[in-house]
Amino acid sequence: MLDKVDLSPEHSRHMRILMLLAMVLLGGCASSVVVKPDIPNPLVKRLPLNAGLVYTDTFKNYVYLENEKKRGSLKSIDFAVAQTTMFDRVFGALTNLVDVDDPSRVLSIEPQILDFQYTAPSETKLKQYEIWIKYRLKLRDADNASVADWTIKGYGKTPTGLLTSASSAFNAATNIALRDVGAQLSTRFPRQRVVKTLLDGGVPAPIPELEEPEADEAAELAANGAEPEAGIEKSAKKSSVEEEPKDNVSEPKGPSGETETETATEANNET
């Protein structure tokens, strides 16, 4: 087939122009991003509390895959290492991290990713990339009885100005969102009733084990970044609100239309 191609100087020039155009078009293609963690060690007082972190396989291997063909700016984003680094650093600074099977453990914390959403400049006409991440934190006591169930959201955005590519912009925005989650945890964790009770040597009251997403739903969530199920949201809404100082941030709604400020309150809740 190639033999039949006329490679006269004129055609050769056309080919070069076409190749140049193809390269330009490919430059704007969807990217697969692996987020490099950029989370500092929190400057907080370590609590005299032996806690264990539990990472499920789904959490450790979480990769957001974009299945909507219309959304052409992102193919996949892998921030599994970045998010485990954030939780390791935050709870490593706040508590004495021990193995989950350690007999001295008084608390276990199991983070679960509920939702991941993003917007790109091509979708919003704004010169910025935005990321929303929603986590659920299940806290269990030494006997593995559920004692608290929190949801917490992080928001991050990066202007396009100084960024060289969509990949670096997603990387930066995800790190800012993770920093946001880490900042909320670092500043609020010591003020939570469960933590105060444990620090006072008391035993926190157990709460009913709340409904979990079905295995298939959880897998779908991990694969598609779908909206969380109503049952999961209920788990947070059942919580009693503990008064906390309000945050500075008044965030915009996520692309799904969910109000972000609601979450800031949820993060203060304790069941």
């Binding site: 004129e10 400057l43 907080v44 007082k45 910025q128 955005k157 880490g182 500075n248």
Partner: protein
């Protein structure tokens, strides 16, 4: 020789045609003197508390650079370095909005200790942004086998609106404010090649604000010695 003359003519033409910016700088001094001890440090931070308020890191860094050059005795800590060192207390969500809130942050012994260790005396908060406020004109570019080119004329206006607030850590109070408004119009005529005549609005706002801040921190505000 002829080529050099051509280049010179083009340069002169570009300078003559270059876009210009109008800057207005205001200062409010709430304390007569701002004292520095040798080794004192200062930190310049941008406000990011809402999705709308996202002060550009480049401007914060530019002001920091101007202060570093203008106030020789004071050490300026870069924003990123400071925010990382004090994580999570100066993130968008957690950064104190008032000096009294800063006092509460410093109730954390680790934070107070680190502030002391770094000899930080003043906080300079920068809030605002540069936005495109007006644009008009049109330009058409085309490319073909014989070559390509652009034809048309475009013009746009950028407006910078910034306010810096200075906090004194000795008294946990606001000691001054400097606000800057800069408006600049850029032009882009295109006859085969587009010739951008850009107004450096953000840069000019930084220059105006930086100069005023140096004057604010000068021992004798009337004897200003600063780099342009």
């Amino acid at each position: 020789m002829k080529r050099n003359l051509k280049l010179l003519s083009v340069s002169v033409l570009l300078v003559a045609l270059s876009a210009c910016t109008t800057i207005n700088v205001d200062q409010v001094r709430l304390k007569d003197t701002v004292a520095f001890k040798k080794g004192d440090a200062m930190v310049v931070l941008g406000r990011h508390q809402t999705a709308e308020i996202q002060t550009e890191a480049s401007l914060v860094s530019c002001i920091g650079g101007r202060l570093a050059r203008g106030t020789g005795d004071v050490r300026i800590i870069p924003e990123a370095e400071f925010v990382d060192a004090f994580y999570p207390w100066f993130e968008a969500r957690t950064a104190p909005l008032h000096p009294k809130k800063l006092r509460r942050v410093l109730d954390q012994p680790q934070v107070a200790e680190k502030i002391k260790e770094l000899n930080i005396r003043y906080f300079v908060w920068v809030e605002g942004s540069t936005e495109r406020t007006n644009a008009s004109g049109s330009m058409t570019c085309s490319i073909g086998p014989g070559g390509g080119g652009c034809f048309g004329f475009g013009t746009w206006e950028d407006t910078s609106d910034y306010e810096t607030t200075i906090w004194d850590l000795d008294t946990f109070s606001e000691v001054g404010r400097v606000s800057t408004e800069a408006v600049g119009t850029s032009y882009m005529p295109a006859f085969v090649i587009p010739i951008p005549l850009l107004a450096q609005v953000e840069g000019d706002a930084c220059q105006g604000m930086g100069k005023q801040l140096v004057r604010f921190f000068a021992k004798d505000p009337n004897a200003l010695k600063t780099s342009p």
